[in-house]
């Protein structure tokens, strides 16, 4: 088990490193930060001084090496815009993002799974059809459309909730709703199909033949078997806790990581963009690791295959 976790951890670090290397080169090939920071009309000397100060005149490989050296010493560079450490800028924005994505995740799980299970147990009923319809709408509607729709109805027409800002919990309601509706649909769909498949398995019939009540068959026999595909989806959602709110934060002017990313990309604030991408990659990889461990806990057959004897 320990060697299993170590190997996975090593692979995780390698994945993050690859993402960061990719980001490093793509960012440097996509426009000159000096021109963007100083504006197209800046005097040539100012541009040259800026480039020299940030090491942008060095050959690419040398910039990369010094970047790598920085990472090893936990120095992720400073923002070209306000000269504060890039990582700090990112970290201080994370709570704001999580304030949206964590309630959204809770809503997804708390509504999506029960709705899917209920639909599976009442197939072909009106409730089942309703769940299918809503879930299709939920995950086909892009969040910028859904977000604007909610603003139109609940902020502009009804005036119940503010359309932007971060001053009270009421400001969070619409962005959280926008974030969660698609995920509720996806989870409901997956829970429904996983439950339907499991309920058709021979061991469900065995449990019934044994005299187990229908409620216990559903909760103790079916749901644990259906949980592997559901956990995969939840893992994916956990992986996007930090990065999943870029569009929604922009719509609702919510000062989270997503907004920072958009501003930093527009400004070619290289260090900040790289730090954000690293944090995003790290959460994704970490979530994946959690999913793999959860698999082993949920299904002994997978445990036998992935852990050392």
């Amino acid at each position: 088990m320990i060697s299993f976790v170590l190997i996975r951890l090593l692979r995780a670090v390698l994945t993050v490193l690859l993402v960061m290397t990719f980001a490093f080169f793509v960012l440097r090939l996509s426009g000159d930060p000096a021109l963007i920071m100083l504006g197209p009309d800046a005097p040539t000397e100012a541009v040259a001084a800026f480039r020299a100060a940030w090491g942008l005149d060095d050959p690419l490989w040398r910039q990369y090496l010094s970047y790598l050296h920085g990472i090893v010493t936990l120095d992720f560079g400073v923002s070209m815009r306000d000269r504060s450490p890039a990582l700090d800028l990112v970290l201080e924005r994370i709570p704001a993002t999580l304030a949206l994505t964590i309630p959204a995740l809770i809503l997804k799980v708390a509504i999506g799974i029960p709705a899917g299970v209920y639909a599976a147990l009442h197939r072909q009923s009106i409730a089942d059809r309703g769940v299918i319809l809503l879930s299709v709408m939920g995950f086909t509607l892009p969040s910028f459309v859904l977000g604007l729709l909610l603003v139109l109805v609940f902020a502009v027409q009804l005036g119940w909730f503010p359309s932007g800002g971060q001053d009270s919990w009421r400001h969070a309601v619409l962005p959280v709703l926008t974030l969660s509706i698609g995920g509720i649909g996806i989870l409901a769909r997956f829970s429904r199909s996983a439950m339907i498949e499991v309920l058709g398995q021979p061991y469900i019939r065995t449990a019934l033949a044994k005299g187990v009540s229908w409620r216990d068959v559903v909760w103790k026999h079916a749901l644990p078997n259906a949980s592997v595909p559901i956990v995969t989806i939840i893992g994916f959602m956990i992986g996007s806790l930090v990065a999943g709110a870029v569009v929604v934060e922009s719509i609702f002017s919510w000062p989270g990581v997503g907004r920072l990313l958009i501003v930093s990309v527009a400004n070619r604030d290289l260090a900040v963009v790289q730090a954000i991408l690293m944090v995003i990659a790290a959460t994704m990889v970490l979530a994946n690791l959690c999913v793999d461990i959860a698999y082993g806990l949920l299904d002994p057959r997978l445990r036998a295959r992935t852990t050392a004897a």
Partner: protein, 319 residues
């Protein structure tokens, strides 16, 4: 001359219990010699894990041996995938247990029956079409069913399609792996009779792999009993079940219920077939054997002729 000769066949698989344990070598087939005369039907029987299916695929060259040699019609079997092997495949065909999996569900059955002819470039399109129809008649399918798709046929009819397709290139050898196991009793008898008729009429040699001793005995001239990758006894199908010599053959024959007779618990074979990865020392059967002697755990007994038509790998019984 023998149609098929196999000497010292070995097939080893590597399996891993987990990602971090070194792979284990499992000898699925472990030193098999056998011969098959033209037109002869040989049965391969044994429990799951005995290596009978692997051996069947090896005899067609689909599964290359790790050691040993196969000669078809006196010449060494060409390597898998080479042009000469593909050419030889026209003379050797295979029939599997599940006809639905063996057929393409989007093609009408007559086209599938003619497919091997097209692959081997035999005849013109209209000749192939005629041949497909005559094959359908031979296996008991109606010619008006030519345009049907596999899902429109019953299980027995599908297996007839598979057999017709295997016969298309007029093979000299047919390897059948559990061809009637998935069929109901009444349909199974139809297909068994069909295979017997085809053999009589065309003189096709057959290797018939099955766990059903009754069916094997009915179809085959000779039977080889396998246990953990080795042949432990081989004799004519009349002799082998009426007077089994090897203790394993005896137990196998005793486990077949005779309609109308009560079960006799005294002849039961104890225990389960061992894991092929942990083959017992010496005679692999000795831990389950009622005749076990101290020497049985020592050397692996050799398959030796006991009479001119019989080979057995048990020194205790031979003595």
């Amino acid at each position: 001359m023998m149609l098929l000769e196999a000497h010292g066949l070995v097939r080893t698989y590597l399996t891993r219990k987990s990602m971090f344990t070194p792979p284990e070598a499992v000898r699925a087939v472990d030193g098999v010699d056998l011969v098959l005369a033209p037109g002869e039907a040989l049965g391969l029987v044994g429990e799951s894990g005995s290596g009978k299916s692997t051996l069947g695929r090896m005899l067609l060259g689909i599964d290359p041996p790790d050691a040993g040699e196969i000669r078809f019609n006196g010449a060494p079997m060409p390597a898998l995938g080479t042009a000469s092997w593909r050419k030889l495949r026209a003379q050797m065909q295979m029939v599997f247990q599940d006809p639905l999996a063996a057929l393409d569900r989007r093609l009408p059955i007559a086209e599938q029956i003619a497919e091997p002819l097209a692959i081997h470039g035999i005849g013109t399109a209209s000749e192939r079409n005629d041949r497909a129809r005559s094959l359908m008649a031979q296996v008991g399918l109606r010619v008006d069913q030519a345009g049907r798709f596999p899902h429109e046929l019953s299980g027995g009819q599908r297996q007839r399609v598979v057999i017709a397709r295997a016969l298309a290139t007029s093979p000299r050898l047919l390897v059948c792996d559990e061809p009637v196991s998935a069929l109901d009793v009444s349909i199974q008898a139809q297909v068994v009779n069909l295979l017997r008729d085809l053999q009589d009429r065309h003189g096709i040699a057959m290797v018939f792999i099955s766990h059903d001793l009754k069916v094997v005995r009915n179809i085959c001239d000779r039977v080889a009993v396998m246990y953990l990758g080795r042949i432990v006894e081989e004799a004519s199908s009349d002799d082998i079940f009426s007077s089994p010599r090897h203790p394993y053959t005896r137990a196998l024959a005793a486990s077949v219920p005779i309609p109308g007779a009560r079960l006799d618990p005294s002849t039961l074979l104890q225990g389960e077939p061992p894991n092929p990865a942990r083959r017992p020392e010496g005679c692999a059967f000795h831990p389950r054997c009622t005749l076990m002697r101290p020497g049985c755990a020592g050397a692996v007994p050799r398959l030796l002729p006991t009479t001119p038509t019989r080979r057995s790998a048990c020194p205790v019984v031979a003595a």
